[in-house]
Symmetry: D2
Subunit: 405 residues, 4 copies
Amino acid sequence: MYTARISISGHLIDSGLLSRLLDAVSDLGGKFEIVETQFGRMKEEESCATIEVGADTCEELDKILDKAKELGATVFDGEPVQLAVVEQDGVCPDEFYTSTNIETYVNIDGQWVPVDDIEMDCAIVVDAQKPAARCCPLAAVSRGEYVVVGSSGIRVASMASAKETEVFSFMGSDVSSERPKALVVEQIAREMKEVRARGGKILVVAGPAVIHTGAGPHLARLIDAGYVNVFYAGNAVATHDVEWALLGTSLGVYLKDGTSAPMGHTHHLRAINTIRKAGGLRPAVEKGILTKGVMYSLVTNDVPYILAGSIRDDGPLPDVITDSVKAQDAMRKNLKGVEIALMLSTMLHAIATGNLLPARVKTVCVDINPATVTKLADRGTFQAIGIVSDVEWFLKELAGHLAAN
Amino acid sequence: MYTARISISGHLIDSGLLSRLLDAVSDLGGKFEIVETQFGRMKEEESCATIEVGADTCEELDKILDKAKELGATVFDGEPVQLAVVEQDGVCPDEFYTSTNIETYVNIDGQWVPVDDIEMDCAIVVDAQKPAARCCPLAAVSRGEYVVVGSSGIRVASMASAKETEVFSFMGSDVSSERPKALVVEQIAREMKEVRARGGKILVVAGPAVIHTGAGPHLARLIDAGYVNVFYAGNAVATHDVEWALLGTSLGVYLKDGTSAPMGHTHHLRAINTIRKAGGLRPAVEKGILTKGVMYSLVTNDVPYILAGSIRDDGPLPDVITDSVKAQDAMRKNLKGVEIALMLSTMLHAIATGNLLPARVKTVCVDINPATVTKLADRGTFQAIGIVSDVEWFLKELAGHLAAN
Amino acid sequence: MYTARISISGHLIDSGLLSRLLDAVSDLGGKFEIVETQFGRMKEEESCATIEVGADTCEELDKILDKAKELGATVFDGEPVQLAVVEQDGVCPDEFYTSTNIETYVNIDGQWVPVDDIEMDCAIVVDAQKPAARCCPLAAVSRGEYVVVGSSGIRVASMASAKETEVFSFMGSDVSSERPKALVVEQIAREMKEVRARGGKILVVAGPAVIHTGAGPHLARLIDAGYVNVFYAGNAVATHDVEWALLGTSLGVYLKDGTSAPMGHTHHLRAINTIRKAGGLRPAVEKGILTKGVMYSLVTNDVPYILAGSIRDDGPLPDVITDSVKAQDAMRKNLKGVEIALMLSTMLHAIATGNLLPARVKTVCVDINPATVTKLADRGTFQAIGIVSDVEWFLKELAGHLAAN
Amino acid sequence: MYTARISISGHLIDSGLLSRLLDAVSDLGGKFEIVETQFGRMKEEESCATIEVGADTCEELDKILDKAKELGATVFDGEPVQLAVVEQDGVCPDEFYTSTNIETYVNIDGQWVPVDDIEMDCAIVVDAQKPAARCCPLAAVSRGEYVVVGSSGIRVASMASAKETEVFSFMGSDVSSERPKALVVEQIAREMKEVRARGGKILVVAGPAVIHTGAGPHLARLIDAGYVNVFYAGNAVATHDVEWALLGTSLGVYLKDGTSAPMGHTHHLRAINTIRKAGGLRPAVEKGILTKGVMYSLVTNDVPYILAGSIRDDGPLPDVITDSVKAQDAMRKNLKGVEIALMLSTMLHAIATGNLLPARVKTVCVDINPATVTKLADRGTFQAIGIVSDVEWFLKELAGHLAAN
């Protein structure tokens, strides 16, 4: 749904003006919400109302707004988008508009043009000739490009409608640890099946607890069954997964019995060194060094994976992209077609990925720490459904639904 | 293992005194640990050593200590226990000894007498005639009784040895959310089978999250299969369990699909009112009103349950013991023969039960909040193994091992 | 604000019916919100609208509703409240209405009568003769009394307006640990001054962390300065406060330097025993045994305090009310005139008190654990403002504003 | 203290062998701990003991070990360190030794050589000619260098002694939120004064909560007073600090009154853009654009700061080092002379810095989330003292002690 606000004043009630206006909106297939009314205390005083009107397409909305103008309403919409030129690479004009992660149109010479690559906290670069518009991170704007400034000429789809059509709707809000979660997992499994059936992509973002808890094999089964199409993680996930594949431990703890290996704290370094020696994960698989685990399944199933570096990394593995700006770019490029994102026990990578995701991507965040879930929503990924639970269990249940042994 | 400390001084090394002493301890089947040594800097200076000696029984320890005295050691042990009379009901003499939760003996006229009903933070009441000794809460001592004062004449079993023989030993310490937990659950299931096989009792202490998460039926299966022999909880667990049995919801949320019932926040009050009308849980079962759930299974399997009241209770149910001192007493009485305690998602009841449990009872505390686990250990129930995980999953797994459908 | 819903159908827009209705509401000083509209798709189809109308008093609302009926609207309001008789002590009729914690009126023979002692999750007992109505806990209804059943004839003040006039409004919602809190404390201090100036009461509900963190003296200063008029806590707060006063420790830790006392884990039992010997806290103060601390200040300033028992209590102190139903009653009785409630680091007592508080009482919940704050709101005390912070710091700052040394 | 283990077997007690050995250790100024003993059950069976001997210097330890060998003991020490050549840049030989963060010596041709730049999880590169040894991250070893392999010929200082001399000793272990913290802050302030007095350096590692809570000015005062000599943070800290300096908000919330700014969620992007336009933080200060805050104080006091990039960054600021390997290197270079590290509300940067710190650096970790503190210790920074508290309060108190207005 696309919306715009209109304001109307006068003897709204007596004269039937408000009545006529709302009638017109209805006649044209639109919806309305009376946002604010200021009724004159005395009969003779004028009243004033702010009304949000909505329509399913930009075109229908335009017709409604034209009619409203005829009736005397002021329309806060319709002016062309304002542009300013970038004078220095990576620096925007002062009043640049910052994007949200919701579908957006900009008005270029009276035409509503959709903004591509929608992502929160970006500038919108406009090519008025084509016409075309796209989100662009601050650091990537180039001298001479035109960027949207101010706030006129912009239409953002209201999320209310997005939520209405939400298949996940029964979850409403977050799923606390004190709610039944078995049902939620079942519903997510069903959704994943549908997405796969229609050729959509599923993104998994994982933290090292997935490996430490012994849930790696469950995730590998999901990968093998085709339910992971893009994978984001850090050096730690891949390292401990390899550590398990080579030495049976994760952070030095044997996953088969929970005991600590002697000198186990050095195991992850040996794992890293082995992969460095082999020249990377894929070579290690090809040379028969790495023969199982999450990374093995990603390589053998040709699932694109991005391992993004962080300052707490040991090693790192040769596959890690150590530059954070380059890692972000690689992540952006792999988001095309993603319809569901599962974020498993990782705050850093979940927030980072959330920053890049359009709001239309169904996002599920599983973490035993309620703060991770809360923070993700606070940082703008409001569409994320949080499940406060144990990731080991979540993956076991999910794999049970989708990739039964 | 029972231990005592001895101190010895002299030219320990040169003269071979230390050597002879340690030799003697070994000869008598004891163990020793050199706790502290103060060696003279100059050859001619005397040295001094504090040694902890241990033996499997009180009698063997006595023989070792006698030998040590012969060799010139000072033995911090062996004096008779000191007693003082209670002059006022519920008030102990000033210097009363407060018990730990570990097996304890007191020396009455040279005889080591075991302390019955061992429980932390109690007074020890002694009947020197029999002779006999028992733990007694402060408030329950009676005028004229004799109570242990000071710290001499008391032997407390060292827990080191208790831990050695621990079947749960592979868990070592707490099981964080970042460790593999499937194995731990398997091990607990095995232990529960053994306890049941040898006629020991299993205690379950539960909080309302067990019901809210939909894990009630898993717990009911465990009860039906005979794996719960004593049950402690509060008004909320029973209330929401009944709410689910009668209305399908827990705190107003339908457990079959996670949706909220209209007026659902009143459901628990209706459940309480229904049970009050029936005259209690057992009458409600007998009248065919309550036909499923945790409380139903407890009633039909004749498992003793204690519902202890708290100031945040609504209602409460007629079965609730509202007086906290009476509830504690009822809980104490049902602990005989308990060998394993499972504490499921409850801080209040877990700590309360922990306060009453002998340290020899294997204790497992499952909570998604690490703070609960930590607090239980901090408050003296150091034998508790904490599992930071989701109780819904824990019970499903456990019931899968012990009471497969 | 009191509200009622009305429904109107017909050719709402064309005929000007909706316009006339809204006009009438405005003329009579009321407010309206169009809750739902169902507009006919075709011109000739009828439309239908549900409108919530509100007025500042019950009387004004009645006039508006009468007018709406004239205009053809259906008014979901105005029928008399339905009553049923209690047939068994402590058991309500099946369809009994359960109260919220918001100001409520019931319609007795056409007259809107306020409900006294408003409290959530109670029955409403009506004396139709007087007429009068009051909240009554389930367990306290008596045979022969009349209780409200169903949901007609009841008006609940909407909290929207309550929030509007909220002095604490700048806090909006909860104050996370990542927000500036110094300002919030300043605001609370200002509010407390105002409440005291107009003779209102301030309730403090405290948990043992107040004592363990060494913040007891800050709280005592607030008591001495007259800023605590009612005090609720459990056995632990009083015990550790006395432990500190007598022995310098809280749970065995010296508050002057943070070191652990030898045998410190027995200190709280010695403290309890000392007070039991003295016959209670007041006698202990009078005999010169207890000479400082929170409990000392409460006694010497004649501030009523309720210590409610729990099953994890040691002792307990003679002042503790061990029966939870009696403790609740005592807490209820002391709530008259309370305008602000500060809940400091206690989940059990905060939720218990929250259950008893009318929603109009400004409630501040300070806890380092965000879960406590969340749970309080989830359990119905939605007016509670949560401050996720360290109670030691909160009390130091607050005492700095109100009771500077 | 430097330690080595020796093993001795024979008729240890009868023959006086053990006695003579311990005597010898004492005579030479050493200390010993009997780690394990296996006494023959029968008189004629041999016994066996493992003993850890310690001395203050490597030289003294050597003398003791020589004597022990004379007496027939097996010494697990003294062989030369084993080396292997690096055959590929950034890849170590398979059995490479991984360093701890504790002072270490390696035995090169019979000489104990200290390992420079001590840091956990590194390889040790040896130059046998000089002789010299240094820690080197895996990725930085170069072809042809020699690296320690296996575990012989290595001496690691035992931390027991390090803890003994710990000025922070009164804190013992972690400071939970339920302990008095005012004293701890006082002690830290005293320690910081001493470090500054003797020319040592103080490192502060900060997370964005420092700015969000309004504690930035407290930190700036500490910087201005000379109590911060090195500063590590991420893009967010600097960004929100600048946001506050330029626009009065942090994440869109006005720090002067806690209200949200209209369009406040765009403020941090405007702040970043402004600094990008200026060319960085120092140019922004020099041009008079940035006139207050933490970053301003760092620049004007010439305190080296490292801003390390992460994949969740917006912007980033031009000062941010986006490559994580380069950022780690920059952090390593600035650690020389650091004696105290304060880690304030940041898990990522705290763990990353902890990985690089020698264990001798006094480390204080302040976080409201107990998990951060626990994780830091679990990841090897065991010397870290955790304070579970509110960073706003911590900095206010600390600045009160060290930089009173």
